[in-house]
Symmetry: C2
Subunit: 448 residues, 2 copies
């Protein structure tokens, strides 16, 4: 390991330059040229490791980069993506989002954390191992897609068409972050998601509000319908819906019991007066990680500019995000929601699905999780925190759920990395830790 | 009367040119130059009648034009305004809003109906009467303000400071319209208004919706609070609020009983499937005219653009318009609403008043109403419809309520006049009818 450490030390500058070069490409959905350039650069980096690479291209789809190399008792699939969120609102960036900038050991660029930094740290780990005379202890397969930020809309087809190619014993998922106390968080699953829009319609155009005593108001219809979905304790009231949630396993409970979650830090960071139902301690972290949700993400009706406008809106809409836990599915949610609206007298409310993804979860005492715990402990010098499920979502089920592959996520971000926001960043020290983690993880996973 | 009719016939072109000249001035709130020009033009038109005029100017206030002339057993106050609504959305106009255009006998311009057309028809009536050798049968006082479209914010001070100047037996209010069957509508009062904004606040900035199971969501708080204000039959549920509504008088009931309100025409015009509580007939018109309302005019929270964004909003707000009937007041509404929110567990919801005006009402069998009915019947050749109260609002209480002056409104608009909207218009035939109405009305009111 000493030799590897020396190699990493000697090549830090080169690694950061290579990461910066990838982050200069504005590989945002819709920019086909940039997506193609980013895919090509990723393919180069992977083939420079000596991997057999393949770029899967198809009309209307960002290229999928695949690479495989190494041998050993286990096969590890590594999932990342080279596409990034749009940089908007661009005026809030302290420096250009596509001109990587280093200030006080912090690397700023769109994609620094999500997900180019994580991808390159893994590639640089393999390079460091090989170049310093080591040998890959397992077979490794990289799958790097370019549509993660736009719901991985072609991934399921690819998985269905290439089950043998993607076959593996375990998967290292794209990313994770450190908590506010710099403890690495490992996650064993992701919540699912069903994103819908509810829409109520009234007159053919906005009317003067003098008609309000006789003409139905779609804004009221929407408010009444919404108010039946969640009680004022934030408990979802769809009939039989909560019964779809699979009870936590003993392993989940044990794992959650070990989490020392700092609610006060969260309150302070986000200016909160308190949590839902005044929760704290183990209840707070259990609900955060494991509870299904129903969130109003947006409301829109009538006039919302400055001052007063006496208008009776013609239309009102709400965007709702339901997070799903096993065994909930987007299909079941849509069915339960439509039925609920109809049964409660709101069959006039339109329901449109805007996106859905299944929940996915690995047993948190699985070998791959144990390997990640050991590797993170060694690389970061701190006891990692294991989340049986992370409260966010992603195409984990599409890839690992479908293929039956256990997975774990580790990443180089921290609590202030601002993924999806202006001034996205990583600490360079975390980048090098990420390289060390990957080397240790491959070794642990090959033997555990 | 024949001589007057000949005079009107001979001067139609001149009248329309004078109206067009006033409509060319973009006297929108904020455009001080245009407001001053419009006030000056109105003053000229009034002094050309031989009236004693006065322009009341004060810093930060659009000029108030006052004129008085004539003698007789009664004094009539005539209220109008020369300011207009902004022309936005300007791209929806078929011709320039400030370049009056006549197509097929219809005069298009911002202010054509609201309120320059009504004002000029009244001035042209006095001119026609005098120039054809007649004599004003009463003392007439014109009050023409320039801030009606911005809540007449200096009118109450002016009224308080000039009670003797404004003293009158009755008032002809600014405008009214014909119904879809071209029957002139006379109104004896206006609903009051209290316009408020409710606002809920959460985290210091929008969060990722993965926090939804533990962080309170202001959009839910707002929806729950709103849903307690009105039941699903659109009945206001503020405690004791409906008791503030003064019962209808027998005269009101008789007057409403005579109204043949065409609900089907309204449904068709606005693409409605039905009315609130499936109302029809006399219930429909009674509720339309006489019921207090609570209207969601606007909703705003989080993300409402295209597609999905998984955001937990930091803030949510609603604009609400409460129409008031006697003896409700904006102050009482604010008190009842705040108390309701507090009593229902929503003391966290901010309540901001954005404007208020008192309801006002004249007995619908008052002499001034009778005079207007007779004059409208003669001028329009149809039986007018009398609304004991109109469902819209205006500074009627500020002027007539404060001074104890009975009032009635007649106007030259029709059901398609598009006040406040693109392509505002009047039919020229209605303009000449408006002149004839005014002459007849002055005569009737002086003798009735």
């Amino acid at each position: 390991m000493e030799q590897i450490t020396r190699y990493i030390e000697a090549h830090k500058e080169e690694f950061i330059q290579e990461l910066a070069s990838l982050c200069r490409i504005p590989s945002v959905s819709g920019n086909e040229k940039a997506l193609g350039e980013a895919a090509a650069k990723v393919e180069q980096s992977l083939s420079s490791l000596g991997a057999a690479t393949e770029v899967f291209e198809a009309p209307g789809r960002a290229p999928l980069v695949y690479a495989e190399m190494g041998d050993g008792p286990r096969t590890l699939l590594v999932y990342n993506h080279y596409d990034v969120q749009p940089p908007d609102p661009i005026e809030l960036w302290s420096s250009d989002p596509f001109s990587p900038t280093i200030v006080n050991g912090v690397f700023y660029a769109r994609g620094a954390s999500d997900n180019k930094g994580n991808l390159m740290a893994r590639i640089h780990a393999v390079r460091s191992l090989i170049q310093s005379g080591g040998k890959l202890p397992l077979r490794i397969k990289f799958l790097v897609e370019g549509e993660e930020e736009t719901h991985s809309r072609h991934l399921s087809t690819f998985v269905r068409e290439h089950p043998e190619t993607l076959k593996a014993d375990g998967c290292l998922w794209e990313c994770s972050w450190k908590d506010p106390h710099d403890r690495p968080i490992l996650t064993c699953g992701l919540k699912g998601l069903c994103y819908v829009e509810l829409r109520a319609k009234g007159a053919s155009h906005d009317l003067h509000s003098s008609y309000a005593s006789i003409v139905p108001n779609p804004a009221w219809r929407l408010v009444w319908a919404l108010s039946t979905l969640l009680d004022t304790d934030y408990r979802i009231t769809l009939r039989n819906w909560m019964k779809e949630a699979k009870p936590l396993s003993d392993a989940d409970k044990r794992t959650i019991g070990k989490i020392d979650f700092d609610g006060d830090a969260l309150k302070q960071m986000y200016g909160l007066r308190g949590f839902i139902r005044d929760m704290s301690g183990s209840e707070l972290i259990r609900e955060y990680l494991c509870a299904p949700t129903c969130t109003i993400c947006g409301l829109k009706a009538g006039y919302s500019g400055d001052g007063a406008k006496t208008v009776l809106p013609a239309e009102a809409s709400a965007k709702l995000d339901f997070r799903l836990v096993p065994d909930m599915t987007p299909e079941k949610l849509l069915h339960a929601l439509r039925r609920h609206l109809d049964e409660n007298g709101f069959s006039d409310i339109e329901l449109n699905e805007l996106g859905g993804v299944m929940p996915a979860k690995t047993d948190c005492e699985d070998a791959i999780v144990k390997a990640a715990v050991a590797a993170a402990r060694w690389a970061c010098g701190k006891e990692p925190i294991v989340y049986p499920v992370a409260p966010w979502s992603g195409p984990l089920h599409t890839l690992c759920g479908t293929l039956g592959i256990p997975s774990v996520a580790f990443g180089i971000g921290n609590a202030g990395s601002r993924d999806h926001a202006p001034d996205e960043n990583i600490r360079m020290s975390d980048y090098y830790e990420g390289i060390r983690f990957m080397i240790a993880f491959m070794r642990c996973y090959s033997t555990i």
